[in-house]
Amino acid sequence: MRQRFEQLVDANGGRLLQLARLILRSASDAEDIVQDSLIKLWSQLPSLEPGAEPAWLMTCTRNACLDRLRTQRRQSGLLRQVHSVDRELESHVNDRGPATNALHQEQARQLHDAIRALPEPARSLIILRDIQDLDVATVAETLDLTPNQVKVYTFRARRTLRRQLEECSHEQVA
């Protein structure tokens, strides 16, 4: 079972971290949540059907991130820790390596902000479907949607995101 667990950690750990980082502002918060999710996976592994683990992990991580966001919003003082968190975000964006080579650093930051600004489940759909390219069935299970809902809502989320990015670039040009 430990071997199976290690394989799941290696196969899904990066994706979970990406999901958490794109939902949360703080990279350290994201790592905490991913660690908790993986530890929970270990305790739940005997009861999980083989193959169901990725969806379970995504659901667990996403729920934890949304809970963290709600807590942070309640604590408005913490939410306004813009400077330190922004610096952390900048460094995170900077060391993303080949992931954002095609995008300018500023565009990458705008993209992160625009994704974070999306409401749920649009944000999760963009991350899981478009960025992580998870299959429709897994995303549907993770978000408790039908496969067709996943497709339609992803389409709408992507269009919303595109328009937000276009508005940002228009403002910069202006």
Binding site: D10, R96, D144, L145, N148, T154
Partner: protein, 183 residues
């Protein structure tokens, strides 16, 4: 077109419920065209959506930091440790039981051999204590009696004739089971 439900729709909802959403089928068809990867240059909006999808797909997932991975894997090793300790404890208890059963008290040899000289010293010590006890009793009677004079009470004379220990050898068999019983 960009309406968004506040809460995720329950997957258990009736299949027809999704189609109450106007534009649902049109958006589904559009998404299917984007996912198909076909050339959509004739439709600028869909082409832009497809382009964004392609760009988003180029963002690689970060690598899980080594420290985080180690912490998680270490945690998975944790629950086995109590079993190891329990197994060791059970082995210790079992060995004690086995030793106790196979080596009863009666068959155990004395760990210390008492010599005749040891026994002579012990006897002398006991006799000395006995003699000193008798002397203390006599001295106490002699010194305390004058202070206890009462008109109507006469102190009875105490005969502190303590006999020597009747069977000093009775102690010996505790230490040397081989010594014959005293008569």
């Amino acid at each position: 077109m960009n309406k968004w439900p506040e809460q995720p729709r329950n997957a258990a909802a009736p299949p027809g419920a999704a189609f109450e959403d106007k534009g649902f089928e049109a958006d589904l068809a559009a998404e299917n065209r984007i996912e198909s990867g076909k050339d959509l240059s004739h439709d600028p909006e869909l082409s832009a959506d497809q382009s964004l999808r392609t760009s988003l797909g180029q963002i690689d997932a970060p690598r899980l930091p080594d420290e985080l991975r180690e912490a998680v894997i270490d945690h998975s090793r944790g629950p086995d440790r109590p079993w190891a300790w329990l197994a060791m404890a059970a082995a210790v208890v079992l060995s004690v039981i086995v030793v106790t059963v196979l080596d009863p008290l009666g068959q155990r040899a004395p760990s210390v051999e008492i010599t005749d000289q040891d026994w002579a010293q012990l006897t002398l010590a006991i006799e000395t204590l006995n003699a000193q006890g008798q002397q203390i009793a006599r001295t106490t009677q002699r010194q305390v009696s004058p202070h206890l004079v009462m008109p109507e009470f006469k102190m009875p004379s105490l005969q502190m004739q303590l006999d020597p220990l009747p069977y000093p050898d009775s102690f010996r068999r505790w230490f040397q089971p081989g010594v014959p019983q005293p008569r």
